[in-house]
């Protein structure tokens, strides 16, 4: 890749991953992603973050178009997850940096990942500063956005905030700036990233953004470690407002009906529930779990105030894809949802109680009654499913 000068003497030197769809083993990045790293050419040549290990050689070639990597003095690791610190060990060996800067929690994370021997590690707490020559870097810990080690780096002279995973998006593009791509596509990618990674820490997002805004930092560029860079005050504001909107999780007049099915009975019930929601004027998306990944569902749920979950009873339980989705969803801690459960069964019929229990565990408001149907739904049963959809729609509208 070609380096891109994003500010005078500040270069994007990351890697574009056009091909990886499996993002971190639990979600799909259907449009690929990028691992952004930033090189600051000052009296102390400083690299902010690295890239995922398979891109190491390419990364070094990109840096070499700006400067011989061996001349790097400082490395800042804002976050130690392997997509950003994946080349750290290789770089330390090659560059022999004068210092490696991490947050206090980052030191623990670095030690547990790399088991380093004699690395020149220095901890930077919130408020710590580092002079690079013409520039200073101010460090701000952003614990749990989205790991304990996470921090951001602010360079006031460049009005630049390097935000690590915050504001990231999984988009592999030839463009480097958010204003160069379609805004709807950008927002969809921000939604997917937030909904699958940042969502559980929404309260931390609100607190951290309030603290950052309270610091009155003069920022005209947000440079995340995935996807596109926000430049100009309007786009910086857009990114922050979008995060505040995501974190608020205000219910919207939209629902997702998600299901798995064996002999299409639960599927027919899903369509009937969707009809009931539509009767109440709710916008609906139906998602079959053998066609859509759990992370697609979470992305969709970001813009929904209601969710209906369906599974047949199978061996006294529910189908594994539904079980997997509910486990995944619970961990991401979505808030302010109304929910419904439905499903078909052959002889025992535990499905709806299991689903209801898991939805209630997530503090969703679960509407009554759950609908279960023996073997194949008849017109009466489908009418009950339509009514369930209407009930869910009315419960949603009461929250809007």
């Amino acid at each position: 890749m070609r380096p891109v000068e994003i500010k005078k003497d500040v270069y994007w030197v990351g890697a574009v991953d056009w091909s990886t769809i499996d993002f971190h083993g639990y979600s799909l990045a259907r449009e690929g992603t990028t691992y952004n790293a930033y090189l600051v050419m000052d009296e102390k040549i400083t690299l902010f973050d690295t890239v995922k290990a398979p891109f190491c050689e390419q990364f070094l070639e990109t840096i070499a178009q700006v400067v011989d990597p061996a001349r790097i003095d400082y490395i800042v690791a804002n976050h130690l997850e392997p997509d950003h610190a994946g080349c750290l060990a290789r770089l330390v060996e090659l560059v022999k940096p004068e210092k490696i800067f991490v947050s206090p929690m980052g030191r623990r994370s670095l030690e547990a990942h790399f088991h380093p021997q004699g690395w020149p590690i220095e901890e930077m707490k919130t408020g710590s500063t580092l002079s690079l020559g013409k520039r200073t870097v101010q460090f701000i810990e952003t614990r749990m956005l989205h790991w304990p080690d996470s921090m951001v780096s602010y360079i006031p002279q460049d009005k630049l905030l390097i935000t690590n995973d915050a504001f990231g998006q999984n988009l592999a593009t030839s463009e480097r700036f958010a204003d160069q791509v379609d805004r709807g596509r950008l927002k969809a990618a921000m939604t997917g990233y937030y909904g699958n990674i940042v969502l559980p820490y929404s309260a931390v997002v609100q607190k951290t953004l309030a603290a950052l805004l309270g610091m009155n930092l003069d920022v005209d560029m947000l440079a995340p470690d995935h996807g596109l860079i926000f430049r100009g005050e309007a786009d910086v504001r857009f990114a922050i407002d979008t995060y505040l909107e995501f974190a608020a999780q205000t219910p919207r007049n939209r629902a997702v009906v998600v299901y798995d099915t064996m002999w299409h009975s639960t599927e027919r019930m899903a369509f009937a529930v969707a009809d009931g929601l539509m009767d109440e004027g709710v916008s609906v998306r139906v998602m079959y779990l053998k066609s859509f990944h759990q992370s697609d569902v979470m992305t969709e749920l970001m813009s929904c105030g209601a969710v209906a979950v369906g599974s047949p009873t199978h061996n006294n339980g529910i189908l594994p894809f539904v079980s997997g989705l509910l486990t995944y969803m619970k961990g991401l801690r979505p808030q302010n949802k109304v929910a419904a459960a439905f499903g078909s069964f052959g002889w025992s019929g535990e499905c709806v109680n299991i689903i209801k229990g898991q939805l209630a565990d997530m503090n969703f408001e679960v509407v009554e009654p759950q609908i279960k149907v023996k073997h194949v739904p008849d017109q009466d049963a489908l009418a009950q499913c339509v009514e369930l959809g209407r009930t869910l729609g009315r419960a949603l509208k009461a929250k809007l």
């Binding site: 929690m105 810990e141 614990r143 749990m144 304990p148 820490y201 309260a203 931390v204």
Partner: protein, 53 residues
């Protein structure tokens, strides 16, 4: 003495262990932690902890 769990990151405060890095001696009950004590993992404040169920 009751253990308390951080609702942000899942860390458990165990009074038997205390929080040596945060200067809290073993045997300190959760209620006796200073008001400005924060989660040693994620920095959450004391009011973001819940009693372990």
């Amino acid at each position: 003495m009751d253990r308390y769990v951080c609702t942000v990151c899942g860390y458990t405060y165990d009074p038997a262990q205390g929080d040596p890095d945060g200067g809290i001696k073993p045997g300190t009950a959760f209620k006796d932690l200073p008001d400005d004590w924060t989660c040693p993992v994620c920095g959450a404040s004391k009011d973001q902890f819940e009693k372990e169920s």
